[in-house]
């Protein structure tokens, strides 16, 4: 096992998906519901059963062209590095875009997305 610096990461989106430009970070939350099944027969300890899974996330970076339209369905490839297996892939919907225009820096765009369907998890 080895630690990994994030600067080799990437975000690809679109039909391809193709490499984005200006992006400098991304986040992903992959979650599973836990359904409570605690009953009188649980001996005073809560019990749960695995439920539905879902995923969502965000990415952000410098403006380099027009922003992605919200409501757009995109294929997503969220890369931890250029190494095969160090990426998370699936389809999602762009659910928000935020714009920041500071006087002392570059214009940035930030996006959130809602994943839909299967998420292929990193393997390496």
């Amino acid at each position: 096992m080895a630690r990994l610096a994030g600067y080799g990461g990437n975000v690809k989106y679109g039909a391809g998906p193709t490499t984005s430009t200006g992006i400098k970070s991304w986040t992903l939350d992959y979650t599973a519901d836990a359904y409570e099944g605690t009953g009188f027969d649980s001996s005073g300890i809560r019990v749960y059963s695995p439920g539905l899974k879902g995923w969502s996330g965000s990415f952000e970076g410098y403006k380099d062209g027009a922003p992605i339209a919200i409501g757009t369905a995109v294929n997503l490839e969220l890369e931890e590095s250029a190494t095969v297996g160090q990426e998370w892939t699936g389809s999602g919907i762009i659910t928000s875009v935020g714009v920041t225009t500071p006087i002392d820096g570059l214009v940035t765009y930030s996006y959130t997305f809602q994943g839909t369907g299967t998420l292929t998890v990193a393997t390496a």
Partner: protein, 135 residues
């Protein structure tokens, strides 16, 4: 673009100021020449500003006006410090924010005031600018 190319792009902008002798980072002289002169010093570099490995350069531009500490020398210095006008360093640089298509954008961040700067053992009345280039 290479750092040297961007430095040359910066020089091209400063060359639009009449009478100013400009030296890019790759052509800095070992001694002073005839003022007024502008020296574009090799920049500080922030690497990996995004996943595409773009970078941010912070140049220091020193404008040396004269060896004399006189009222006219101070006036000359202030003409370069003005945010606009014929001798404005800010206006010259930001007049083309891509520096001749060598950068994404440029910003003259600040002027550091008047000071004495030594070139080849000779002191010049000078002023220094901090210029950030996104490439």
């Amino acid at each position: 673009m290479s750092i040297a190319t961007i430095g040359t792009g910066l020089k091209t902008r400063l060359d639009t100021i009449t009478g100013l002798r400009v030296f890019a980072p790759n052509e800095l002289p070992g001694s002073g020449n005839e003022p007024p002169m502008a020296f574009i010093l090799p920049p500080a570099v922030e690497y990996h500003s995004d996943f595409a490995a773009n970078y941010v350069l912070t140049f220091r531009v020193v404008v040396a006006v004269t060896q004399q500490d006189s009222p006219t020398a101070h006036d000359a210095i202030m003409a370069y410090m003005e945010p606009s006008g014929t001798y404005s360093v800010l206006a010259a640089i930001e007049g083309d924010r891509t520096l001749g298509s060598t950068a994404d954008d440029v910003k003259v961040v600040r002027n550091l005031g008047e000071r004495v700067w030594s070139i080849g053992g000779i002191d010049y009345l000078s002023t220094e600018f901090e210029v950030v280039v996104y490439a």
